[in-house]
Symmetry: C2
Subunit: 357 residues, 2 copies
């Protein structure tokens, strides 16, 4: 692939041309940062430091990953690059480094978000990458997702030395409360190929509404503390997708109390309870099929209880077809690929459109 | 994710149960191996050793990867595991290790192939993994794809000590010539999450017809020698997908001579010439958009020339919609994710169905 890289670089050089401006790097101060749980946070972490002492240690640790956090800016540069510093703990055979430590750039075109380029992580900690060259130099809105499965300690954005970068003057996200997603490694984005393909990020672009990703790998355990914290967030809707981390007993014990705790402070905010996805291998392993059905029965019971108690803003999404029915949506039977995430995002987006209309 | 692994393992233990047979490992001698270019090959390489001296060095080196090679067997075991030895050269930020060095297992159910499980590569060279546990013990056909971007030097399959593994008695692939795919890193499978999601592998399962993957990363350069070699393969159809590695000048010079060389020995075998896919970032980078259009104009000219000369078995697939039009099918603007491969496989499969009917 090294040879290919050389060839590809040569092609880019030939077709994009050599007459480029020098790059100037800019601090992101003054730009909008999407995806953090509370206003006035200053780091690229999902939660403010004040919550550390309230959370189980692994939840806190995963919450320091910059999952779902994106920098929203506008620029007229013909090239975009970035330097960013990441953590260096996470490495998995079924997850590409581009998801763990990469940055992922989208631009608005004809009122829709389109992929522009990624910044590949080529180093343990100090990353630097050219993301795109050869843009037309018109002013565009950009959304740059930070690393999904590591911390981001710093980031600067490089543009043509004669170009501008600034706060978006006409935000497509303005005046809409965010959607909060709570769940497991799947909500967190495993195993998308890049940060923008975690399903909450796909929904963010599709609905043009900020999403906040509270996916905590292996730790979507319906902790009471999460319900309390989430109930203090100013959300348009809560999406709860914890099934894959729960035993049937945990689902039976925790679901209704979690929802009621969330309701204490947010009596009418829509809540969408998502069933555990049908793992493709459950087609062949009846014990797993039964486990999933049991968890979902307990979810359904909690949903029905709230509904019967008069809650008009509790919603339910069955697992059927969520990641397709051909068994091709995962890498390891559990974690979704870009194909699985695309399907799941479409199903949840459709449901959210009816809830938020 | 370590915690999650523990939890997941605990769940599996609880739900799949502890009463398992000990594993016995079996040589794959006597089992069918799909995906090699010529009959009577003995290794897990795509080409026989005799071709080494005829090929450019990088083409030969990539051809030693076990790309698209699958072991086809039947067994009544309730668990399947594998030990396999891989090379240890390839490592890319935009490719997961599960594609590079993993194995990927499918089973036939109701006459269709479904994902069963992967063997994750957890070591540099000597891999060992449990792929699935908790099957029902009925006799099933399995297809185990070997690593896509590395060599496989050896492989043994583990099953219950009281179960059988054997050559498939009623092969769904019997009496159908294979389809040969020639191309770049994309044909080779970058950046699917596992071997079974490279598009020739998806088509293999969809059409239930063997496919032979001659994708050579960075080296789909329409070498004359490849045309000669391919013309000696006993193929139902040739699919040529080299655009991403070609400059417009190379496409102009090489396409027609390559096709004519292939035709010398195979005057009537269907050939499907596939246009270069539209890289998503070409939406924003007009120079790349022009490069792609130029390459495809040269492809179209070669196709039209053959057609006008009376060739009734030359076919053409335009790029439009091949990987979708939402820009979401790649990891880095070039290499396809499982989403891009799924879309491309569907488009090419549909075309092949009309060609081979």
């Amino acid at each position: 692939m090294k040879k290919f890289k050389l060839l590809f670089a040569a092609l880019l050089f030939v077709f994009i041309g050599a007459a480029q401006q020098p790059i100037k790097f800019h601090s992101i101060q003054g730009l909008t940062i999407l995806g953090r749980a509370f206003p006035n946070q200053t780091t690229y972490r999902r939660f403010p430091d004040s919550l550390e002492s309230l959370l189980r240690k692994p939840v806190w640790q995963f919450s320091t990953n910059s999952t779902g956090i994106a920098i929203y800016f506008e620029s007229n540069s013909k090239q975009i690059s970035a330097k960013w510093k990441t953590g260096d703990k996470a490495s998995y055979p079924h997850v590409a480094a581009t998801l763990v430590k990469g940055v992922d750039l989208y631009a608005l075109d004809n009122k829709q978000w389109y992929y522009v380029g990624i910044g590949k992580p080529n180093n343990p900690v100090y990353q630097e990458a050219s993301i795109i060259k050869g843009l037309d130099g018109s002013v565009k809105q950009f959304l740059m997702y930070l690393p999904d499965y590591e911390t981001t300690d710093s980031v600067v954005i490089g543009i043509d030395s004669n170009a501008m970068i600034q706060h978006v003057t006409n935000s497509v996200f303005a005046n809409k409360k965010p959607i909060v997603f709570y769940g497991t490694s799947i909500v967190q984005g495993a195993s998308a190929m890049r940060s923008g393909m975690a399903y909450p990020a796909i929904i963010e672009r599709g609905l043009q509404r900020e999403t906040i990703n509270l996916g905590f790998s292996g730790n979507g355990l319906l902790d009471s503390m999460l319900a309390v914290i989430m109930s203090h967030m100013d959300a348009a809707c809560y999406v709860i997708d914890c099934g894959p981390n729960l035993t049937p007993a945990m689902a039976a014990e925790r679901t209704l109390p979690f929802l009621k705790l969330l309701r204490q402070n947010k009596p009418t905010t829509p809540i969408l309870l998502v069933e555990q996805i049908d793992y493709p291998f459950a087609r062949f392993v009846s014990s797993m099929d039964e486990k999933i059905k049991l968890v979902n029965q307990h979810f359904n019971k909690a949903y029905t209880t709230l509904k019967n108690e008069g809650d008009k803003n509790i919603y339910y999404l069955p697992s059927k077809g969520l990641i397709g029915e051909d068994g091709e949506g995962t890498v390891d039977g559990v974690h979704l690929t870009d194909l699985g995430f695309y399907r799941m995002a479409n199903a949840i987006k459709k449901k959210l459109q009816t809830i938020l209309k």
